[in-house]
Symmetry: C2
Subunit: 195 residues, 2 copies
DNA sequence: GTCTATAGAAAGATAGAC
DNA sequence: GTCTATCTTTCTATAGAC
């Protein structure tokens, strides 16, 4: 494609995208503090220097990863929230995808795994303020819609944390159907008008 | 007190306790990865070497801190769980103590802030298996008591995470009375027999 | 019982060649 | 556009003096 390819493919857009995807997976797996730029760059097939060239710093890279994660939600989708029984729809997706060995809900995982770092937490806060809250609140009606949407988000985060990250036996080894019913009812009550 | 005090007070039990308290506060504030043994030791008035002397390693120190945190719960107390309206009791304590500037629920904070580190997560898993789950499940009756207790714990964790650590505006700036009512109802439904 | 000094590894970021 | 090489800092853990 390009004129020559001495060290690598020499395609700015492709390199940038490769770094971004590598970083997404790595931050989901190990969190902001748990992975270094060398490792991210290595998986993408480039050197650590390229991260700074394209994203300015590790923080800059993280900010783009978080923004992309919030732009493509995998559980709190508009379809799920707008369905007849949004709680059940969300619960079904959440239970299925927090089962051991599953593709794993990387978006929320990045947040849960990285929030302990103050710089990462600040970036998450900012992106959350800009995107996620507005999306959910706009889809939930009734009194105290913002608070109810916020609580629903907290329930989703707490469930994933305890089941997937900590592996709390009561949640990690429970019958999926039971979990789905209980979690679905809880979320439906929060997302519908009745308190 | 002791025969002499050339470098420091030279009291093994007191030094150990000072390190433990310093570590508890530091891990709550910054998580396992966010704080070094130098800092912990410095606050306790000793050098980093003492940490390894008394606890073997940073991991050993963390394990003791997590164990002590689970032995002295500040929200999921037996009193709260056994009361007439356990959900409301828990919610009231949780909302009050996740307000900005409050003493802050360090036990769960240590867990939320440290779980991204694989070694810390393993320690938390083990301590959780030994202590917390049994305490809660023993106090909750009815069908699927374990699952309901686990979900309640997840709700508490998620709420604290989103309100206190991320500072989600919908939760961080909400009317405490509204939050308390919604969260209390949610927890009461989980902890009582009705699904 | 506590210290100073240091080993040894790994991190983020930058300079400058090609 | 990408590389190698290096600067600087920070970390856990250990050796050995007092």
């Amino acid at each position: 494609m390009t004129k020559q390819d001495s060290p690598r493919s020499r395609n700015a857009a492709a390199t940038r995208e490769a770094i971004l995807q590598s970083a997404f997976a790595a931050f989901a797996q190990s969190g902001y503090d748990g992975v270094g730029v060398r490792e991210i760059a290595g998986t993408a097939g480039v050197t650590a220097m390229m991260v700074n060239r394209y994203f300015g710093s590790k923080e800059g890279l993280f900010a783009e990863v978080v923004a992309s994660a919030m732009n493509a939600p995998s559980v709190l989708t508009r379809e799920a929230i707008g369905s007849n029984s949004p709680g059940r729809a969300i619960a079904a997706a959440l239970v299925a995808r927090t089962t051991r060995g599953e593709p794993v809900l990387d978006g929320m995982r990045i947040i849960l795994n990285s929030a302990s770092n103050p710089r990462a937490a600040e970036i998450i806060r900012e992106q959350m303020r800009l995107r996620h809250h507005a999306t959910v609140a706009a889809t939930v009606g009734g009194d105290h819609a913002g608070e109810r949407a916020g609580l629903a988000l907290a329930v989703v985060a707490g469930f994933q944390f305890m089941r997937q990250m900590i592996g709390l036996p009561a949640l990690a080894q429970a019958d999926p159907a039971v979990l789905e019913a209980m979690l679905g009812t809880t979320l439906d009550r929060l997302l519908s008008d009745g308190a």
